[in-house]
Amino acid sequence: MKQRILIFTVIACAMVLSGCARKAVPSPVPTPTGFGSALVESSGGKQTGAVGTTLGQPVVVQVNDDQGNAVTGALVEFSGPAGVSFDPASGLTDSSGQLSTNVSLGGMAGRYQVTATTVSKAQKRVDLKLEEIALGYQQLVGAELNDKYCSRCHDPESTPERVSNYDNLEIKPHPFTEGDTLNKMSDADLVAIISHGGPALNKSALMPPYGYTLSKTEIQALIAYIRLASDPPYRASGMVYAQK
């Protein structure tokens, strides 16, 4: 009798315990077969995408050794702030020393710093930091307006589908990534030059006024986009209320 109770208890305990057990989350961090000492970006940095979405191009990084030769089989791990996810989050470099990952941005507009990490033979961490830009609703509207009205002159890059007018202009416009120039201009300056054209700030008349074409909201959206696209990043001047 006692034995039966004991067996029953053991079975019951086993069942309860097995019910509690969670499926172990697979941790797919593979074992490296190679070690490098440097991590370089191949492509995929400074992309823009809507908040929460996967960037159009993968981020590709390459692991090199001391001589600058690509290292195969080195472990690279990606990490980023909350909300950023990677597919895959880690992996071994391929025969050309590269690893590519698809990056999904976080839910808030802004710049996201993502870090790729590899470990050298001496167990030293080697980091590579990249920046990606997430556009919120306002910046997305601005990006569309930029595509339609601005980029034809302000973006010097030409494609067969869309020939840039940049080279044809006697006085060159500033690309919106040119933070050194644009960050010095206040929002009011930008509103003035967009609404009333170059002459409003004593600049080139080749920049026409858009104040009768775009609404005030659209101009604000455009500025929101320009601020986020600028490199180095724009920081609003004035009082900073941060507590710390």
Partner: protein, 684 residues
Amino acid sequence: MQSSRNKLSALWQTLFGDPIRAFGVVSLLLLLSLAIAPAKNHFSEWRHYQNQYLTLIRGRGDAVTLRRHFQGGIQQIWLPEIGAVDRCTTCHVGLKEASLVDVSTQPFRRHPAIPHTAEQFGCVMCHRGQGAATTVEEAHSSTLAWEQPILPARYIESSCGQCHRAPLEGTPQLNSGRNLLAQSGCVHCHTIKLPDGSAMKGTDDPPSLLHIADKTTRDWIYAWLKDPQAYAVTAKMPNFKLRDADARDISAFLIANSSPLPGDASPVAAGQKAPDPTAGASLYGESFCASCHAVQNAAGNVVGGNLGPELTRIGTKVKPEWLQAWVRNPRAYDPPTEMPHYRFSDQQIAVLTGFLLNKTDADLLANVHLDPATPEQIAHGKTLVTEYGCASCHQIVGIKKPENFAPELTRIGSKPVTQLVFLPGMAHNLPDYIAAKIRQPRSFGSALKMPQYTFTTAQIDALATALLSLTDRTQNLPAALTVPSVPASDYQPAGKAGQLITDLACFSCHRINGRGGDMAPDLTWEGSSVQRQWLFEFLKNPNTLRPALIRRMPKFNLSDADINVFTDYIMTVYQTPAFDRDSMPSGGYPPAQVEQGKQLFYSKYACQSCHIVDTKMDKGYIGPTLTQVGSRLTAAWMYQWMKNPQALRPGTIEPNRNMSDDDARALTAYLASLKGSGKREAKQ
């Protein structure tokens, strides 16, 4: 055993032995139980967040303002019209505080700028989740009792689509998802009913298979069925993952079932092939075939338009006589085709088809060895064609388009999670389920019929966004809250000109009265815009107006009689009611006014940044070249255009300069003086 029983009875005696003491103990217990509710309230999650917020703002410069805006207690937005009871603002206290721009910790971030406010629509309308809940877990996550988790940011644009039926600025993902739904053939099998009762229509045009045997071979059909993207990387047809025997039988059935197209299929004599091997390539270029058709180049890049099929391996696909007949008049084979009827000569047809037929790929059919079809195979092929719903997209002799072939998706965005069957290891939520279904439909069961598409991650996200916008709310919203899409126009011009417009497929590129494509300018008011002589010459031999464009108006080799019919129709019918085309003279303006206009052109308005007047000096590459604009446009149109370009062509990128009447008149005088060849302005 005995001793514990003694202890218990001693305790009972101590507590309840005396009636007064018993009363005191019971009262104490009652008081304690009464205290549970206020204690729970005091230690509640939302109160913790509100206290945290108060601590956060205390040290700030604008603490007084923020404190004044702050309201303690449970906050609620109640919108009976849309059925929202949202208490999110209980914890998300700083949503409206513009000065919290530097705060990045949730739940205190301010809401980014959007065109709506929480007072108008609440929170759950866009973000989903449980509005009435007052704990994070219940409000955000999906639990058994609460069905609706928070919508991940990646699909947030789907919420806009619940009310906004038309393409919207600022929601590129939703717009592209809806286009993909209509373009990729989804709606041929899945019914999607729109709130107005109509069903979503496909914008693609899957080819009819009525006369397929005239067009191609059984070997090619077999290879195509096995892997459409092996023939053309841009192929829209998805991969049905057919077994060899099934592809064999379907190809047998399609060939056996095809009916020959009656008509003149006399091949062009081979002897007429041009001696010059580059003639075909140049005719292909001159006819701007690449505006619609793409070809994959040696580097693997697909170059060209996507209106028509990719032509990289066209020579391996089509029969030469079919191609010749097609190039001669595509409408004979496929009446509603978007391809224009070029009036090519026999010589040109031979040259062009010779060029196209050379685009072959021997590897494609190298491993296809089909024995002659048996009646059993053909019968089995017919069964398979019915089973796979081929007739949902393609016209096939003797097989009717199936009704409700695949599950209806009208309310897919509100499908309860309990009704979904997830794969092991999958996150249990609707967005991930939809995305996984699109990514790999057959992973949910090998017997499923949905084929494998080749969508990119971004395209799958866009499709999932568009599908998530199809909710119960989409269907039930009060009409006052919806922003309907502009109904598609079925404008069809009448008479001989109308036939020409259909025959030349003008609507493939141009928009007229709300119908047509957006590759080329809107022609609704073309009759007010251009001069008759110019239009006649342009149709006879289209020249380049915008130097930066690679998609241009092709030469259709029209007869003078046809051009006259066409020109008369455009000049008479396509006129704006806003002004009279002949209200301003096309020339003879005083030289001083012309000179003033020129000054304005180059200095005040700096038009040369986008336009070219003097080909030696000006470089503007965005707007049309104006070297002979005085012979092209009417003076009245130019004047009105400069007063307000968007009024004449909504959405045009030329900015409105808010020009005075005098300036606009002077510029019109200057531009009208630019008559082109021989009359070029003196250089500065």
